[in-house]
């Protein structure tokens, strides 16, 4: 069984990818093109449903379907292609997606997972051959960050506001 990093822990993956042998009521991640090809079929899927986006997709492509989706997976084709980070942010911030946001693909490596988690990805399916335990540790490489973000690392600004400016902040 596949294991992933989910909310900073190594857990068995309870999702299936399209093409894998999913049970009829299983949690299934379907590529956007499939979802569009037969919307009726997927609307009636009895299990949980997720979508897989290529990195050049736009979050606008999902507006209608987003409410029905429990998971959105964004493909990182290689470590150098950073489009997925912005797509993650847009899904969380502009589209308001609160479900599981998963990074998938060959670009999901231990040296990138910290950045992904700070862009709102709470689920990391590492590239084949990556050391899950090392990746889990990599999420804790920094305990402060200069930007607000969606993971447990504290933004510097927040700490400074508490520390230096607490007397008269409103």
């Amino acid at each position: 069984m596949r294991h992933i990093l989910k909310r900073r822990e190594i857990l068995p993956d309870d999702w299936y990818h399209f093409g894998e042998d999913a049970p009829v009521d299983g949690a299934l991640i379907v590529p956007l093109a499939e979802l569009r090809k037969d919307p009726e079929r997927w609307r009636n899927w009895s299990g949980k449903l997720g979508v897989r986006l290529s990195v050049d997709a736009s979050y606008d492509d999902l507006t209608d379907a987003l409410a029905r989706l429990s998971l959105v997976a964004v493909e990182f084709p290689n470590a150098g292609d950073g489009r997925g980070y912005s797509l993650g942010r847009q899904l969380r911030d502009a589209a308001g997606f609160r479900g599981e946001l998963r990074a998938v693909g060959a670009g999901v490596r231990q040296d990138q997972v910290f950045l992904m988690s700070r862009c709102g990805f709470d689920s990391l399916e590492l590239a084949p051959g990556e050391d899950l335990e090392a990746a889990r540790r990599a999420l804790h490489r920094y305990d402060v960050a200069y930007q607000p973000g969606s993971a447990a690392t504290s933004p510097v600004v927040t700490i400074r506001m508490q520390r230096y400016f607490s007397a008269n902040t409103s």
């Binding site: 292609d81 969380r92 862009c119 920094y142 200069y146 930007q147 510097v156 600004v157 400074r160 506001m161």
Partner: protein, 551 residues
């Protein structure tokens, strides 16, 4: 200058630990060179012609004496006892060992320095006017905003893997000494009629293969919106910038293909869409950083005549290598790294240490790096000038040529850089030798020569009054000349004047170009103004007059 608090300190220490682990994995064979490359680049480490090259960040060019002393130690201990200051106000080491780099970074961290994001496809060192804070005409000191941007850009989770490198410059004066119009983003501090501070935002400038001047996409951006707006620009770029062709991947290509108006629309849409989530600058944040850049504790002095009874060599130095200061009784002093016969921008460990000590004594312990590859002591008492000159002269740092033809900018070129097509350092030396007569140099006045060893344009040749670009032809080094470029205030890109020349003919062609200027100039007219008035034609003709064989 900005002082790290424990959060900044713990961040850079964690960064060093991360890179130490990545280097260990690479050396153990767990990370291939291909996998290691983007990681080492984001820590300033290139693999170059002879050895790795480490580019150390000097945020907006500001150094303390303590930091400069540490840099001297590092060049001695890990390198060959010298370093090279660059046009991005950084310092490059040419000979470090890969396995030592984590230790070098750890040493840097002890003096609040790092090499983060000095290379790679990410947001690079933010640069500013080197006269920031002492400039009489300044709207506001740009450095606090540079520091705020530095922190925001440091390991920004969304923008660490951009299509291409990304450079930001901030200026607080009209006379743009930060070359902000040829940056990916240029920010010009402005004060609105109601007194509110903000920025004019330019996007899409750049040098390199397809040089372009930036477009204004917002006339006035209030200061609190700075980071939110930068995020909107970067997000549009990160989503839509080209990744299929490295030569078309800079933001300038995106701005050009969409057109500035449509690009602006997308940025403004993104800015509005991200409003609830984007970082907004709070007055306390701005004040905290501004507090680090308060004016120095100047003595209450009056201007004096520092020249009376002094020898002519001092007078020449005073005229060329010092500048007016906002505060009576003080002057700013350039430390020339352009001694004839030396590599432009190079400095030895001994010079660094001695200058650090001098700065401690005469300029509040601060040293600035200029984008023209010189240093600056910004706050020197006029009564100390003579002593400072003597000391600098003893160190070989008082060449009285700032702003003259031999105050050239040159990238490291083929001698060190693996991208270069041609050497720059030997050529710079040939030009210095040809123009070694100071009276002749002074007669020529203000002329900027900028030399790049390849199309990437690190030597800013496009914006040199005289630009020199190294090209490779049939395995030999040739040089293409451009005329009429400028990066100050009125930014313009130079025009190629003809076929490229072999190395030994370049200095001669330059001599004929400046002789044309001497023949054509009106009284006290600068080179660039004569060029603009009479056009390229006479210069072109004279430059090639004796060289029909040039191909």
């Amino acid at each position: 200058m900005y002082q790290y608090d424990e959060l900044d300190q713990s961040f850079i220490e964690q960064r060093v630990a991360e890179f130490r682990d990545q280097t260990r994995r690479h050396l153990a064979g767990e990370l291939s060179e291909e996998e290691f490359r983007p990681l080492r680049l984001r820590n300033g480490l290139y693999l170059q012609r002879h050895a790795p090259m480490l580019r150390i960040a000097i945020p907006y060019g500001l150094l303390s004496s303590r930091q400069l002393t540490k840099l001297a130690d590092i060049t001695r201990h890990y390198d060959r006892g010298y370093g090279h200051f660059t046009t991005r106000q950084n310092l490059q080491l040419n000979w470090p060992q890969l396995a030592d780099v984590p230790d070098i970074l750890a040493d840097l961290a002890t003096v609040q320095m790092h090499a983060i994001q000095t290379s790679g496809n990410c947001i690079r060192n933010v640069t500013a006017d080197h006269l920031a804070g002492i400039n009489p005409e300044e709207v506001d000191d740009p450095r606090p905003y540079c520091e705020i941007i530095r922190q925001w850009a440091t390991l920004h989770p969304e923008f660490t893997y951009l299509p291409r490198k990304f450079k930001i410059a901030v200026t607080g004066v009209k006379e743009d000494r930060a070359a902000s119009q040829v940056h990916d983003i240029g920010l010009h501090l402005q004060r609105a009629a109601n007194g509110e501070l903000g920025f004019t935002v330019l996007v899409g400038g750049g040098l390199g293969r397809a040089p372009m001047i930036g477009h204004v996409i917002r006339e006035f951006l209030p200061v609190p919106e700075l980071l939110a707006y930068l995020e909107a620009i970067l997000r549009v770029y990160n989503r839509h910038g080209r990744r299929d062709n490295i030569h078309k991947a800079r933001i300038k290509v995106l701005v050009k293909s969409l057109g500035p108006a449509r690009f602006r629309e997308q940025v403004e849409d993104e800015w509005r869409a991200g409003r609830d989530h984007a970082p907004r600058l709070l007055p306390q944040q701005i004040e905290r950083v501004r507090g680090c850049f308060r004016p120095q504790p100047y003595e209450s002095l009056v201007d004096i005549d520092a020249l009376a009874g002094r020898e002519s060599a001092f007078l020449a130095w005073h005229r060329y290598n010092t500048r007016a200061h906002r505060v009576p009784g003080y002057r700013a002093v350039f430390v020339s790294l352009k001694a004839h016969g030396e590599v432009p921008g190079d400095m030895t460990a001994h010079q660094m240490e001695s200058l650090a000590t001098l700065a401690e004594r005469v300029s509040f312990g601060l040293i600035r790096v200029t984008h023209a590859q010189n240093l600056l002591l910004a706050d020197v008492r006029q009564s100390d000038l003579y002593e400072v000159w003597r000391k600098l002269a003893e160190l070989g740092l008082a060449m009285p040529n700032i702003g003259t033809l031999t105050d050239m900018i040159a990238c490291p070129g083929l001698d060190f850089c693996s991208l270069a097509n041609a050497g720059t350092l030997g050529l710079a030396r040939q030009i210095q030798t040809r123009f070694d007569d100071l009276d002749y140099l002074y007669d020529l006045g203000e002329i900027e020569i900028k030399i790049s060893g390849c199309m990437n344009g690190c030597g800013h040749h496009h914006v040199g009054h005289i630009g020199i670009l190294g090209v490779e032809k049939r395995g030999e080094e040739w040089y293409q000349l451009t005329l009429g470029g400028s990066a100050n205030g009125f930014t313009a890109l130079g025009e190629v004047i003809g076929p490229s020349l072999p190395r030994d003919e370049v200095a001669g062609a330059i001599e004929r170009i400046v002789e044309t200027y001497r023949a054509e100039r009106l009284e006290s007219e600068r080179f660039i103004d004569t060029l603009r008035r009479v056009g390229l034609k006479p210069f072109r003709e004279r430059a090639y007059a004796t060289h029909p064989e040039a191909a």
